[in-house]
């Protein structure tokens, strides 16, 4: 039986892994590849590596970081987000280390490249990043480059419904980093049948269970709230009762 997924998120800014609060405030954490390696050891179901300043600074994907992570021999599926400007970028990202790719700005800038990437990599590798908020009862889609919100465009909805994007990463960006902040109403903002990954302000097991109990929610992603204690992934998994999830696993290294 297919299991739901608990995704560990590593957010990178200026080459450094950070905690991010409300898409605006950051605290330093450490070297991205070491946080990724740690999530791999903890047994996260997937790891989302998001480089949040790549597009804004006009740089493409952080290929150097991806190559470095590829060298370390990750045994957990890796999702990359940040600076994807074309289908070619997406293919290079997968060739380097990632299994799946998240697009955000590219949806607005050049949807045809999103489609092309889907054709080359398989649409199951494509994820749409949707930073959403609810303003006066209406769902708003946030553009972090202009820091403005607008309704979800037809083009976006079309990409989701046609399955060009296999899953939607719904980010409650306003409550990112705020304990218990995630607004579950956002999970109903998308057309029926679109698989959703919930992210942003998810800090407690009940919140995660509430999201994962929804049939179309296939995964929850946690970032800041994994960095405060040892075995954070396993601790969450132990509390996510009544949800089909790979059980917590504690690595045992038998040396010679």
């Amino acid at each position: 039986m297919i299991q739901k997924r608990l995704i560990g998120v590593v957010t990178v800014r200026d080459g450094w892994a950070v905690q991010s609060f409300g898409y605006g405030r950051y605290l330093p954490l450490g070297r991205p590849e070491i946080l990724v390696e740690n999530l791999d050891r903890w047994g996260a179901d997937e790891i989302l590596l998001q480089v949040i300043d790549a597009t804004r600074q006009g740089r493409g994907p952080d290929m150097a970081l991806l190559e470095q992570i590829g060298k370390r021999g990750l045994s957990t599926p890796l999702i990359y987000a940040g600076g994807v400007r074309s289908a070619a970028d997406a293919v290079a990202i997968v060739a380097a280390a990632a299994d799946r790719v998240v697009v955000d700005a590219l949806i607005r800038d050049n949807a045809s490249e999103v489609i092309k990437a889907g054709e080359q990599l398989g649409n199951q590798a494509m994820i749409g990043s949707l930073p959403l908020s609810i303003e006066h009862g209406a769902v708003r889609w946030f553009d972090y480059r202009t820091r403005t919100s607008e309704p979800m465009s037809e083009e976006l909805l079309e990409l989701l419904e046609a399955g060009v994007l296999s899953e939607a990463l719904v980010i409650d960006w306003k409550h990112e980093g705020q304990p218990g902040g995630f607004d579950h109403a956002l999970l109903d903002a998308l057309p029926k049948g679109v698989p959703v990954i919930a992210f942003g302000g998810l800090s407690s097991a009940p919140q995660l269970v509430q999201a994962l109990k929804m049939p179309h929610v296939v995964a929850v992603a946690v970032g800041n709230f994994l960095s405060y204690r040892e075995h954070a992934i396993q601790a969450f998994k132990a509390e996510l009762l009544g949800v089909p999830l790979r059980p917590a696993a504690y690595q045992q290294t038998l040396h010679a």
């Binding site: 039986m1 297919i2 299991q3 739901k4 997924r5 791999d40 047994g43 179901d45 590829g70 060298k71 370390r72 021999g73 990750l74 045994s75 957990t76 599926p77 890796l78 293919v91 997968v94 060739a95 380097a96 280390a97 990632a98 299994d99 799946r100 054709e119 080359q120 990599l121 398989g122 649409n123 199951q124 590798a125 399955g163 296999s166 899953e167 698989p195 296939v218 995964a219 790979r246 696993a249 690595q251």
Partner: protein, 203 residues
């Protein structure tokens, strides 16, 4: 000291062989990543990785002039493992984006997944029969990321997975094995299976 086995990872520009290399190297095998038959000959087992579209992958194999080579190697009994798209390429033909001929090493067709648009995430596998190279992994969860299924002829189906009903996710014909999931990305369970399959085929 039993001599180390060497594994040839077929590099035809599709998919991510770095993770496969790392996983196999971590298990103690020597690895060669190459598209050159001369290099691939000098190995104990071949691995055909692959991600993305069937058609594009077959084109790439033809471009690298590897189709006949791989057919020859496998039918001569050389241990051979196809991973993810690499498993689907073993089929006669695929219906993805029209009809494309595969390597035709295991009878059957690659068809769109009928139970859902995609099969993404961790799912437990059910081992058919008690082939020792698969048996220890029965019930273990592996990581899947595909939207087409290789409906191989029933006698070659080795492992199944299930959403509503069972469908093939692992095949074996002699020294040829195909795995629809990513063992190199399925943590402990995946690495254990990879080891068992390689050791089993090379025994």
């Amino acid at each position: 000291m039993i001599p180390r086995k060497t594994i040839g990872i077929v590099d035809y520009g599709v998919g991510n062989h770095a993770s496969v290399w790392r996983a196999l190297h971590g298990l103690g095998y020597r690895c060669r990543v190459s598209a050159e038959p001369a290099v691939l000959d000098d190995t104990d087992l071949l691995v055909l990785p692959g991600v993305g579209a069937f058609g594009a992958a077959m084109e790439a194999l033809h471009r690298h002039d590897l189709v006949e080579y791989l057919r020859g190697q496998s039918s001569s009994g050389k241990p051979f493992i196809g991973l993810c798209l690499g498993m689907q390429l073993l089929a006669d033909v695929s219906l993805e984006h029209g009809l494309t001929a595969g390597l035709g090493l295991i009878p059957g067709q690659v068809v769109p997944f009928d139970q859902a648009r995609w099969h993404i995430g961790w799912n437990s596998i059910e081992v058919v029969g008690n082939d020792p190279i698969f048996r220890p992994s029965d019930g273990k969860s592996m990581y899947f990321n595909h939207s087409y299924v290789f409906q191989a002829a029933p006698e070659y189906q080795a492992c199944l997975a299930r959403l509503d009903s069972a469908f093939p996710v692992g095949v074996r014909r002699g020294n040829l094995v195909g795995l629809q999931f990513h063992p190199e990305k399925s943590q402990g369970a995946g690495h254990m299976m990879l080891k068992n399959v390689v050791e089993g085929l090379c025994a």
